[in-house]
Each structure stands twice: as structure tokens, then as C-alpha cells.
Symmetry: C2
Subunit: 343 residues, 2 copies
């Protein structure tokens, strides 16, 4: 029951964030020259490939919602952070465009990825332009925290790049050669960093000091890692009807997700079985056997416990930034929401 | 004789710029996590692919030299712009990394391009990181003009993206379908914009007002277009011993460079001949015939006159920013240098 209330609260916060940032995002993307604008609006789900209006989804707006909720939890005005929240969302979408090119992913938000529709050059170029749009938004934002936010976002982008680079490098190595520690560091950089940055930017806009901002960042990072762990579990055991992906999609793609790497490092008979399966082609039967091996090797339990542990750490960090946690209810709702979304 | 003096002056300015920005660039690139750092230092010519030190060239440092000279011409302190000049150089190198991926260029500064050595994903990711490093440099620059410079650079990156996008789109169209006007607009966005931005950033750091900054930008743009026209002439008639590329390399690649597009649009018999040659494979004999056709169709003369005209406009714009042109000698030397470099 309490989960349902929290879920409803989170959905309202996400809707509020979408409404707050969409006008700025539409203006920013609309300012791009024609051919780039078309790719950008397609990627956001606002236009079809032929330029006709689409009712697609621009994503859940988790990061803008975190920027707004973090600012509000520290006494800031959520309306004053709309530009910075839109900038963070542009950064997120810049990484999606480039990651889809790099990973050769065919689908994003239930539609063909931009590079499959417009070609790799356009997807690279429009990703670059989105990152520049984020900085332009911040450069024109008269708020006194805009400069510090721009620096923080630049730092975060470098970390996102490092995470994506590590992810690619892992794909080249044999599965049993990648340690769980390396894998967690990669997930922290690739997913945790931007959620942390979103919270830190909200804190900066509320006039927070260094310690509060760092604690907000840590909250977002830990929640982000919990989110990634749950996402990895869904990639193996998720309901295809809800995820839009076939069951075991990550296993079929030989993805070294966190539960898989934990299982491989368990020293169990199931780990050896999994390693063998990961060396060959993944038929539907092999995918089912691999999922079972991850479970028996303890990868599923580890990921669930690790996710719970990260959420506990997230709440601890949040309590350092906002001693009266009652004021941080929205942030907690959002963190709960992202880590429970498809279970 | 005066050309030699100017050339010597320009070389001294470029050396000064290299010395001013290299420490900041090395610190910035050195702060990247290991695998990204390696790609970045390779791209700059400072390391070999195996990580050993290299004595390669990091480029001519034209853009940092323009930032410094523009600041100085308006009474600014060239030492105070070192960080901003390094940021502009990082932006330039971000575009090189991505453009080489997009254009599938095998060679840059006489070495294999980064994507051919480290793969496309690493080249995309490290390009992204370089753009973020540029913004981080500006975010940490205490100079009061740093914020305005960041906004100007963001605007410029969007224009660079538009230019690269147009360049790609032209490649898909039949040669006679691309108008000279479109081609000039593309070259202005792709080459002129960043030279203009470099000069504008220098002006901002000297505390210049809007009109002076705009005139400085226009100076850099016009000089950049002259540079591109000369570069296009070199791509057809350049001395392979000096350019490091085979003669007529641009023709062999069916490149729609400015002299080619001017020739194709001339309505002459030579234009028809050139269009026919551009439809087929370019043997060395065909390249020679195409070069001759561009010449007979007036493309060579047009480009030379246009370059001279752009330089005249550049000087006119410069005189609006710096009424006593004696104070702008360094900028004139640099503009002369880049437009005369290989003739």
C-alpha cells in the first residue's frame, strides 16, 4: 500500500519535471538547423522519422525530477532549476545517442534508434550538438549557481565517458577476467554519476555548501547503482510484456551485467557452467540455462542484496544532506520508484 | 620579402601559443582515466599507440594563437587567455576526432587517425571527453569573461555540428545538385565559425563590447573562409611533398570542394566534362583530367579571387574592431600565414 502511494507520488513528480523541462527542451532542440533538429526531435519521440508529429515518449524525466526535488529538499525553488534540469536531460540524451551508436543498439524507448534511421554520422553529430545545447542553456541561465553547475556537469560527462569506455573494454575481455569491483566502478561511472550530478546540481541551485552538495551527489550515485542492479536483474528475469525486450535479452547478448559477473566470480559449479555457456552462441535454451546458472551461482541474490544495501547507503547520504528526512520525501519516492519500477 | 617577415612573425606567434596552451592541455588530458588518456595523447601526437612518448605534432595552434592575438590587439593580457585558448584548441580537436570517424579518414597530421588505431567507440568517447574538458577548463577559469566565452563556444559547437552535418548530406547528393551558396555556407560553419569564435573569445577576455566582439568574430570567419578556399586549392594542386597527400587527393575522393562546385556551376563544356568524370571511378588519369577541367571551367580562378576577396573583408572587419590597425599586426600576420601556408 505504501509502495503504491510512493509510486503515485513519484509519477506526479516525474510529470511535474516533464512539464517543467519540456518547453525549454523544445525551444533548445527547435533552435537547431533543420536536419539536426529532425534527428533530435525523432530521438526525443516528438516527431516521426518523416517529420510528422509523434506521441512518443521522451523518457521518464528521472534526472530532471531529481534536480528539482534535490533543490526543493534544500529549500530551493524548483521552478528556478528548470533550465539546469533541462541541461541535465540533454546530457542524458547526448549519452543515449552516442551509446546506441557505440553499442549498435537497434531499439530505444520502443522505437528504432536514431542511428538506424538517420545513419551513424547524424547520430554522432546530433549527440555532440545536444551536449553543446546543455552548455548553452547553462551559459544563458542567470542563476548564480549556473557556472558551478556547468563545471560539475563537465566533470560528470568525463566520468560518463570513462564508464562507457570501460564498458566497451570489458566486452573485449573474457567474461571471467572482469572483476566485480571493476564492474561496479563501471556502473557507478556510467549510471550513478549522472544521477548523482542531477542531485548535486539541484543542491547547488539551492545554495548548498560543499558538504551538502557532495552528500546529495553520493545519494544520487548510490540510488543510481541500486537502479542499475535492478535493471540488470530485469535484463535477465524481467517480464517481456513490461520491458519490451525478450526475456534474458542481456544473456543472449553475452552482456557482462552485474549479476552475471557476480555469478562468474562465485567459484561454484554453476559459475563454470555459466562461463561455458557464455563462450558459445546463446540459443533460447542456452539463455534459460544461463539464467538458471546465474541464480544457482548466487548472482541473483547478490544483486538483490547489493541493491538493498545501496539504497540504504543512499538514504544515509541523503540524511547527511537533509537532516530532517521529512523534507526529502520526494527524493526518497523517486529513488524507490526507479529501483522498483518493473518488479 | 615582407611575406617572409610576416611568415616569421606568424611562426613566432604560433610557437608562443603552443608554449602557452600546452601545459594546460597536458594537465587536462593527463587528468583523463588511463584508457581515454592514451587515445587523447596519441591524437595530440604526444604519445605513440603503445603509450611511449612521441615527438609528433599537436597541430599548428592557429586557434590558440588567434585567441591570444585578438585579446592583445584589444589591450588584453595574452597570458590571461591561456586557459580559454586551450579550451578552444580542445574543441578543435574534439571535432577532428569525430570528423575523422564520420569521414572515415585514415590519416591526420601524417599519422593513422585515432579511430583506425583504437577503434570507432574510443574515438567517439574521447572526442566527447575533450569537449567536456574544454567546458571544465572554462568553468574553473576565474576570469570574468569565462562564462560568456563558454556560451559563445557552445553556440560555435552547434554551428560546427551543422557544418559537418551539411558536409555529410552533400556527399549523398549528386555533385551538380549542391549550389555554391550552400557550399560556402557549409564551409563558413565548418571552418570559419571556430576561427571566428577564437577571435571573439580573445575579444571577450580583453573586455570588448558586443560590436567589437562581433567584428572580431567576422574577421576570423572571413579569414577562415579564405583559409578553406586555399586549402581546397591545395587539395587539387598542392605539392604532395609539402601536403603529405597525393596530388588531387580531393578529386580522387570525389570531394565537393569549393573550386569543384564553382566549376560544376559554370555552365561551361569543362563543367559537363567534370560532372561526367565525378560520376565514375577516379583513376590517376581521370584525376589529372578533372583538375584540368576545374581549371578550364574557372573554378581555380574563382577560388583564388574569392580567397582574396574574403581576406579583404577580413581586414575590413578587423579595422572595425581595432581602428588603429597597427595594433592588429599579429592578427594580420596569422591571417596571412594560414592563407599562404602551402602555395
Amino acid at each position: 500500500m505504501s509502495e503504491t502511494v510512493e509510486g503515485r507520488e513519484a509519477l506526479a513528480l516525474l510529470e511535474r519535471a516533464r512539464a517543467a523541462v519540456d518547453p525549454g527542451l523544445r525551444t533548445a532542440l527547435g533552435s537547431l538547423p533543420g536536419p539536426m533538429r529532425r534527428v533530435a526531435l525523432y530521438h526525443f519521440g516528438w516527431e516521426n522519422a518523416d517529420g510528422s508529429p509523434a506521441a512518443g515518449s521522451a523518457g521518464k524525466a528521472i534526472r530532471p525530477a531529481l534536480v528539482m526535488a534535490a533543490a526543493e529538499a534544500l529549500g530551493g525553488d524548483p521552478a528556478a532549476v528548470a533550465g539546469a534540469a533541462a541541461a541535465v536531460e540533454l546530457v542524458h540524451n547526448f549519452t543515449l545517442l552516442h551509446d546506441d551508436v557505440i553499442d549498435e543498439d537497434p531499439t530505444r524507448r520502443h522505437r528504432p534508434t536514431a542511428w538506424t534511421v538517420f545513419g551513424t554520422p547524424d547520430a554522432i553529430i546530433v549527440g555532440d550538438a545536444m551536449l553543446a545545447l546543455a552548455y548553452r542553456l547553462l551559459a544563458h541561465d542567470p542563476h548564480p549557481a549556473a557556472g558551478a553547475a556547468a563545471g560539475r556537469i563537465a566533470e560528470c560527462v568525463i566520468e560518463l565517458c570513462a564508464g562507457q569506455q570501460a564498458d566497451c573494454a570489458f566486452e573485449e575481455r573474457p567474461p571471467e577476467d572482469v572483476s566485480l569491483e571493476e564492474c561496479l566502478a563501471m556502473a557507478t561511472a556510467k549510471t550513478g554519476a549522472l544521477l548523482g550530478c542531477a542531485c548535486a546540481v539541484g543542491a547547488l541551485y539551492a545554495g548548498a555548501g560543499e558538504a551538502e552538495t557532495a552528500a546529495m551527489d553520493a545519494f544520487g550515485r548510490e540510488a543510481g547503482l541500486a537502479f542499475q542492479l535492478i535493471d540488470d536483474l530485469i535484463g535477465i528475469w524481467g517480464d517481456p510484456g513490461r520491458t519490451g525486450k525478450p526475456a534474458g535479452a542481456d544473456l543472449a547478448a553475452h552482456k557482462k551485467s552485474l549479476p552475471v559477473v557476480a555469478a562468474l566470480g562465485s567459484g561454484t559449479a554453476a559459475a563454470a557452467e555459466l562461463a561455458l555457456l557464455y563462450r558459445g552462441h546463446m540459443s533460447p535454451g542456452a539463455v534459460a540455462r544461463a539464467a538458471d546458472a546465474v541464480d544457482r551461482a548466487g548472482g541473483r541474490d547478490w544483486a538483490q542484496l547489493q541493491a538493498a544495501d545501496r539504497m540504504a547507503r543512499a538514504v544515509h547520504e541523503l540524511s547527511r544532506a537533509v537532516p530532517d528526512l521529512a523534507a526529502a520525501g520526494d527524493l526518497l519516492s523517486l529513488a524507490e520508484f526507479v529501483t522498483r519500477r518493473s518488479r
